[in-house]
């Protein structure tokens, strides 16, 4: 990693990453500007989480450079599926984990208590501060981990699949919350499988499958050609209210009801 005085928060140039002998990312070029709201889409195993790790600095690239703005504060919100929900921590204790530097004493200072209370209030979960993390709804759980990330006052928030496995209402709730945080100046880069529910609503989308296959506004990037190269499957793109709507296109080789073959379903 190098630091530079460039305008971008993070700039990746020719980044290649490997697990064992396998290349997970190949020659990735990507810039994240201040205030950006970027969605990274791609199939499972396309390197989305690795990209987040490289940007966060928890993984070093085998080749290429990662340039972060000097003193950049980055926060990372993992997939909620990776969390041990039976772990004995309350909401406030979980959020306080972000204060791992500086004070060594186990118990929080008055200033830390106040900071936790403030961030929980900002995310409308202050009344839950003494609840065990298992006793929360999906949206509340996501807010707790966003609160933990926000306690470090980051300039860039990295989120791994924030809407994985959530229903439509919760997806809207999370998207609105992130939109609000972005409007206050926080740059956000998230990964998602949800092309229509999330990616199409963001100002900037990156299609990734080991390398960047397309980047820009959803209307410019979510095209049949780019999506087929990204997912290796044919997709159709419709338009609704000025936004792209991605539709799987596949052919039944055999219809179980009619017995007819090659019936196109779109």
């Amino acid at each position: 990693m190098t630091a530079a005085g460039s305008e971008e928060l993070v700039a990746l140039a020719g980044v290649t990453c490997r697990y064992a002998a396998e290349d997970v990312l190949v020659d990735v070029d990507l810039d994240v500007a201040p205030g950006a709201f970027v969605g990274v889409v791609g199939p499972s195993g396309s390197g989305k989480t690795t990209l987040l790790r490289v940007i966060a600095g928890s993984m070093q690239p085998a080749r290429g450079t990662v340039t972060r703005r000097r003193g950049l504060r980055i926060a990372y919100v993992p997939q909620v599926e990776t969390i041990d929900w039976s772990f004995p921590v309350t909401v406030a204790q979980c959020v306080l984990m972000a204060r791992v530097r500086g004070r060594r004493l186990p118990w929080p200072s008055c200033a830390e208590r106040a900071a936790v209370g403030e961030i929980l209030a900002r995310l409308d979960i202050e009344h839950l501060r003494d609840r065990h993390i298992r006793e929360l709804s999906g949206g509340q759980q996501q807010r707790v981990f966003i609160a933990r990330a926000m306690l470090g006052e980051p300039e860039l928030l990295l989120m791994d699949e924030p809407t994985s496995g959530v229903d439509v209402r919760l997806r809207h709730e999370i998207l609105h919350l992130l939109d609000d945080l972005n409007a206050r100046g926080l740059a956000i880069l998230l990964t998602t499988h949800d092309l229509n529910g999330i990616a199409a609503h963001l100002p900037h989308v990156v299609c990734l499958n080991r390398t960047v296959l397309g980047a820009g506004r959803p209307a410019d990037v979510l095209t049949p050609d780019v999506l087929e190269r990204t997912y290796g499957a044919s997709m159709q793109v419709l338009e609704h209210g000025g936004m792209p709507v991605v539709v799987d296109s596949f052919a039944h080789r055999h219809d179980p009801v009619t017995g007819l073959s090659d019936r196109s379903v779109v």
Binding site: A75, V77, F87, V89, M97, V100, P106
Partner: protein, 281 residues
């Protein structure tokens, strides 16, 4: 009452009682991390691995704490390294390293015809061989473990709960894992004579499991687990003397009984608690 206090007139029993109480607290404290990190199998395996070092140092006439200590540290670092590489499943890697070491210990004893009191004590624990050196060893490891938990509380908690984000947040998780493994190896080494390698795992797992049933707070779980471990060590050692049964089994049976009682007592509560586990308004 006199009958209960009578063993305290013997120095070996006073040493054994002190060591058992401190060992219980130590294993209870370290065990919280072992249980929450899902390292129970590592604790079990490591105690068996150290048995190889115990056998080698006994037969070579080397100081037990030095010989088995070096062996234990090497095993702990090797297990830690193998589990972090994720090339093969961690349980399989631990199985290979620790059972090979345990088997080597058994083979050494068999080859040099070294079986006897020390062999049984290493396997099942005994108060007979406990001396001042053992009291000091357990006290030193207990102080070191407590200091680590106190001074690195936040980093250890973050590493235990969410290692990936802890790493991104600037915590050296590899160092925290290595420190935990070293403390675990030290704890096993220091408590081996009193608990025995085959029963140490229970002392590491049962008190934290009981504490977990009683609280949802990490900090409370730490002191509750250490207290429960100390109580089990104290009560188990007294029972060991009066029932004339080895110390390891009695300490573990006391712990298992407490586990059973708390499990039964909290089951209806946990069922009610689970019904409460629904989205908060």
């Amino acid at each position: 009452m006199d009958e209960l206090l009578r063993p305290l007139q013997f120095e070996f029993f006073r040493n054994g009682l002190m060591v058992a109480t401190m060992a219980g607290a130590l294993c209870g404290l370290v065990g919280v991390y072992v249980v929450l990190k899902g390292m129970s199998y590592i604790g079990h395996g490591l105690s068996h691995a150290i048995f190889g070092g115990f056998a080698a140092s006994t037969l070579l006439g080397i100081n037990f704490l030095l010989g088995a200590g070096a062996w234990g540290v090497a095993s702990a670092l090797m297990i830690n390294g193998v589990t972090r590489r994720r090339v093969i499943a961690s349980d399989a890697a631990i199985g290979v390293i620790t059972t090979a070491s345990f088997a080597l210990g058994l083979a050494l004893f068999a080859f040099f015809d070294g079986e006897g009191a020390s062999f049984d004590a290493a396997l099942f624990g005994s108060i007979l061989g406990v001396g001042t050196q053992d009291v000091i060893a357990v006290a030193v490891v207990s102080v070191m473990a407590s200091a680590l938990v106190f001074l690195r509380y936040r980093a250890l908690l973050f590493t235990t709960f969410d290692p990936e984000v802890a790493d991104v947040s600037g915590v050296n998780t590899a160092r925290m894992d290595a420190l935990l493994m070293l403390v675990l190896a030290g704890s096993i080494l220091a408590t081996m004579k009193i608990l025995g390698v085959t029963l140490i795992a229970a002392a590491l797992v049962i008190p934290p499991s009981v504490a977990r049933m009683l609280t949802n707070s990490f900090s409370r779980m730490l002191w509750m687990s250490a207290t429960i471990g100390a109580l089990c060590g104290f009560a188990g050692m007294n029972l060991s003397y009066h029932l004339d049964v080895q110390s390891g089994p009695t300490i573990v049976l006391v712990a298992a009984t407490i586990f059973g009682v708390i499990f039964m007592a909290t089951s209806p509560l946990s069922r009610r608690g689970q019904r409460r586990v629904r989205p908060a308004a």
